[in-house]
C-alpha cells in the first residue's frame, strides 16, 4: 500500500490509458466472445445458442466465397507489396544522383499518406470506361476501352495493382533506411575481392536486408485478413462476388442485416485465423532469430 502511495501520481497518469483500453479493447473483445455464442436481439433476452453462430457461418456458401476472394486478393497484394518495394529500393540505391533519388522517394511515398477513399476514388475515375485517363490512353494506342471495374476478369487484378501502387513507397522507405545502415566496410571488402555491381547487390545488400524483409512479411501477412477500406470503396454490385472479402461480409451481416451473432462469430474466426497465421509465419521465417 505504501508503494501505491509513493507512486500515486504515476498510477493516476496511467488510469486514463488503462481505462480506455479496458473499455474499448478488452471489453469489446470479451463482449464479442459472449455475443458470438448468443442469439443477439435488440429487445428481450439473449439466449446462449452454443456454436450455432459459428456453424451458420461455416455452412454459409457466401462465407466461403469471400474467404476465397480474401485469399486470392490477399496473397496477390502480399506478393506485390513484398517484391515491388524491394526492387524499387535496390534500384534506387544504384542511382548516383542524390536529388533524383530524393524526389523519386518523395513522390512514390505520397499515395501512402492518403485514405482509400481518395486513392480508390481517383482510380475509379481514372479507370472509368468513358472519360477515365487510362481508357483514353488505351484508345490512343488503338485498343478498345475496358470497363475494368465491372469486369470479372480485371476486378481482382485492379485491387492488387492499386494496393501495390499505394503502399510501394512506404515499404520501400523501410528498405532504404536499412540499406543506409549497412556497414560500408562490407562493400569495401567485397570490392577488394573483385565483386561487380550485381554481385555487390546480390551478396552484400540483399543478405543484409533479411531482417527488414521479415518485418515486412509480418506487417503484410497480418493485413491480408483485415482488408476492408479498399474493397468497401472500390467494390460495386457487378464485381461483388469477385472482390468482397471477409471483413466486407462481416460488415454486411452485422451492420446492414443486423445478424450480430453470426457476424461477430465471423470476426472471431478471423482473430483465430490471425493467431494461427502469425504463429506459422513467425516459425517459417524464423522471426525471433532476428
Amino acid at each position: 500500500m505504501r508503494a501505491v502511495f509513493k507512486f500515486k501520481t504515476l498510477y493516476l497518469m496511467m488510469v486514463p490509458v488503462l481505462a480506455y483500453f479496458i473499455l474499448f479493447s478488452f471489453y469489446p473483445l470479451a463482449r464479442g466472445l459472449v455475443i458470438s455464442f448468443q442469439k443477439y436481439r435488440l429487445i428481450g433476452d439473449r439466449p446462449f445458442v452454443g456454436i450455432e453462430n459459428y456453424a451458420s457461418i461455416l455452412k454459409d456458401p457466401f462465407f466461403w466465397d469471400v474467404f476465397r476472394n480474401t485469399i486470392v486478393i490477399g496473397v496477390g497484394i502480399f506478393v506485390i507489396n513484398f517484391i515491388l518495394p524491394l526492387l524499387l529500393a535496390l534500384s534506387l540505391n544504384e542511382v548516383a544522383s542524390s536529388w533524383f533519388k530524393k524526389i523519386t522517394q518523395m513522390i512514390v511515398y505520397l499515395p501512402h499518406l492518403f485514405s482509400w477513399v481518395i486513392v480508390g476514388g481517383m482510380w475509379i475515375l481514372m479507370l472509368s470506361p468513358d472519360t477515365g485517363i487510362i481508357n483514353q490512353i488505351i484508345q490512343l494506342l488503338g485498343a478498345e476501352p475496358v470497363s475494368f471495374l465491372s469486369s470479372d476478369r480485371y476486378a481482382r487484378i485492379v485491387m492488387i495493382v492499386t494496393s501495390g501502387w499505394k503502399e510501394m513507397g512506404f515499404t520501400c522507405i523501410l528498405y532504404l533506411a536499412a540499406i543506409v545502415g549497412i556497414n560500408p566496410s562490407l562493400y569495401e571488402a567485397a570490392r577488394i575481392d573483385g565483386a561487380n555491381r550485381w554481385q555487390l547487390v546480390r551478396d552484400v545488400t540483399v543478405p543484409q536486408l533479411v531482417s527488414t524483409m521479415k518485418v515486412v512479411v509480418m506487417l503484410n501477412v497480418l493485413g491480408i485478413l483485415r482488408m476492408f477500406d479498399q474493397i468497401f470503396v472500390m467494390r460495386n454490385g457487378a464485381i461483388a462476388d469477385k472482390v468482397d472479402v471477409i471483413m466486407m461480409y462481416t460488415y454486411q451481416k452485422g451492420i446492414l442485416e443486423f445478424s450480430v451473432g453470426p457476424a461477430t462469430a465471423a470476426g472471431f474466426l478471423v482473430i483465430l485465423a490471425t493467431l494461427i497465421i502469425t504463429y506459422i509465419t513467425r516459425a517459417v521465417i524464423r522471426y525471433d532469430e532476428g
Binding site: 508503494a3 507512486f7 504515476l10 497518469m13 486514463p16 490509458v17 488503462l18 480506455y20 483500453f21 474499448f24 478488452f26 469489446p28 473483445l29 464479442g32 455475443i35 524499387l88 534500384s91 544504384e94 542511382v95 523519386t104 513522390i107 512514390v108 511515398y109 505520397l110 499518406l113 492518403f114 485514405s115 482509400w116 477513399v117 481518395i118 476514388g121 481517383m122 482510380w123 475515375l125 481514372m126 472519360t131 485517363i133 483514353q136 490512353i137 490512343l140 501502387w165 522507405i173 523501410l174 533506411a177 555491381r197 518485418v215 483485415r226 476492408f228 477500406d229 468497401f232 472500390m234 462481416t250 460488415y251 452485422g254 451492420i255 461477430t264 470476426g267 478471423v270 482473430i271 490471425t274
Partner: protein, 288 residues
C-alpha cells in the same frame, strides 16, 4: 559508392535503363495526381470531355464552389477538423503520459501494464468491428463525433513509441530533480515533454494523418449526414454516384475538387512527415 567503376559501358547502360524505369514509375505516380488537379480546375463541361487532361482546360473554380457551397462539403470538412484536432491532442497527451509511466524504474505492476498494452496491439481492430459497434451503441455514442474521437484515442503503438523516446532522456536528471522535491507531474511536463520534441512531433504527425483519413469507424458509427466526416462524404460524392440524390448532375471537376480539398492538409504537412515516419516506425516497433 564514389569509388565505383562507372566507366564500363555495361554499367552505363544499366544506369540508363534503371533511370528510365524509375522515371516511368514516377510518371505513374504523378500523372494521376496531375490529372486530378487539372480536372478539378477545369470547367464543368471541359471536365466531362473524353480527353487526357494534365493541365486545366477552360480554367475555372466552379468545381470547388459547387462542392464547397452547393454540396456543403464545408460541413463534413468542419467535422473532420474537429475530430482530427481533438483526437490528435488527446492521443498525444495520453500516449506520452503512459510512455512516461512505463520508463519508471521499480514501479510495481509495470510489467503487467506493458503486457496489457502489448495484448491490445495484437487484437485486429477490424475483426471486432461488430462488438465495437455494440459497445458504442450501448454507450449512446452512435451518430456522435465523440465516437469518432474516442476510436483510437490512445494506441499501444504510440505509447511504446513515446516510451522509447523518453528512454533516451537521461534518467539521472529526473532522479536529481526528484531529490530536489519535484513531483512526477512536474518532471514529466517540464523535463521530459520538452526533451522529447521529436517524439511528440512523430506521434502528432502519425495521428494527424490517420485521423484525417479515419474511415472504418465513421462508416460504422455515423448514419446522420450532419455528422458525416470528409471521408464518408467523399465516398458518397465520388463512389456512390447514383445514391447521391441531387437534382443536378455531378460533373468530374466537382468530384476532383472534393479530392483536392481532402488532400490539401496532408500535402501541407508532408515535408515533415517523411522525416519523422521512418524513425517512428522503427521506434514504435521496438518492444524490448
Amino acid at each position: 559508392m564514389k569509388s565505383f567503376n562507372r566507366t564500363s559501358w555495361q554499367s552505363r547502360i544499366f544506369d540508363t535503363i534503371n533511370m528510365l524505369i524509375l522515371l516511368l514509375l514516377v510518371l505513374t505516380m504523378i500523372i494521376p495526381f496531375l490529372n486530378t488537379l487539372a480536372l478539378a480546375f477545369s470547367s464543368n463541361l471541359a471536365s466531362m470531355q473524353p480527353e487526357i487532361v494534365l493541365w486545366p482546360k477552360e480554367f475555372s473554380t466552379e468545381g470547388f464552389s459547387t462542392v464547397w457551397n452547393r454540396m456543403q462539403l464545408y460541413l463534413p470538412f468542419t467535422n473532420n477538423v474537429i475530430v482530427t484536432l481533438v483526437g490528435t491532442i488527446g492521443h498525444v497527451l495520453l500516449s506520452s503520459m503512459a510512455g512516461y509511466v512505463l520508463i519508471q524504474q521499480g514501479l510495481p505492476g509495470k510489467k503487467w501494464m506493458v503486457s496489457a498494452i502489448l495484448v491490445t496491439m495484437m487484437i485486429p481492430g477490424e475483426a471486432i468491428m461488430i462488438p465495437m459497434y455494440v459497445v458504442n451503441k450501448d454507450l449512446g455514442l452512435l451518430n456522435t463525433l465523440s465516437a469518432l474521437i474516442l476510436s483510437g484515442f490512445v494506441s499501444g503503438f504510440s505509447v511504446l513509441l513515446m516510451r522509447n523516446f523518453f528512454l533516451s532522456v537521461p534518467y539521472e536528471m529526473a532522479e536529481s530533480a526528484r531529490i530536489d522535491g519535484a513531483g512526477d507531474l512536474r518532471i514529466f511536463l517540464t523535463m521530459y515533454m520538452p526533451l522529447a520534441k521529436a517524439g511528440l512531433a512523430t506521434v502528432t504527425l502519425f495521428e494527424f494523418v490517420s485521423r484525417w483519413n479515419q474511415f472504418t469507424p465513421a462508416v460504422l458509427y455515423i448514419n446522420d449526414s450532419s455528422k458525416y466526416t470528409l471521408q464518408i462524404a467523399l465516398k458518397s460524392l465520388i463512389v456512390d454516384t447514383d445514391a447521391t440524390s441531387s437534382n443536378f448532375m455531378i460533373t468530374t471537376n466537382v468530384r476532383m475538387a472534393g479530392i483536392v480539398i481532402a488532400l490539401l492538409p496532408l500535402m501541407i504537412i508532408y515535408p515533415y512527415v517523411q522525416k519523422h515516419f521512418v524513425k517512428g516506425i522503427f521506434l514504435g516497433a521496438n518492444k524490448e
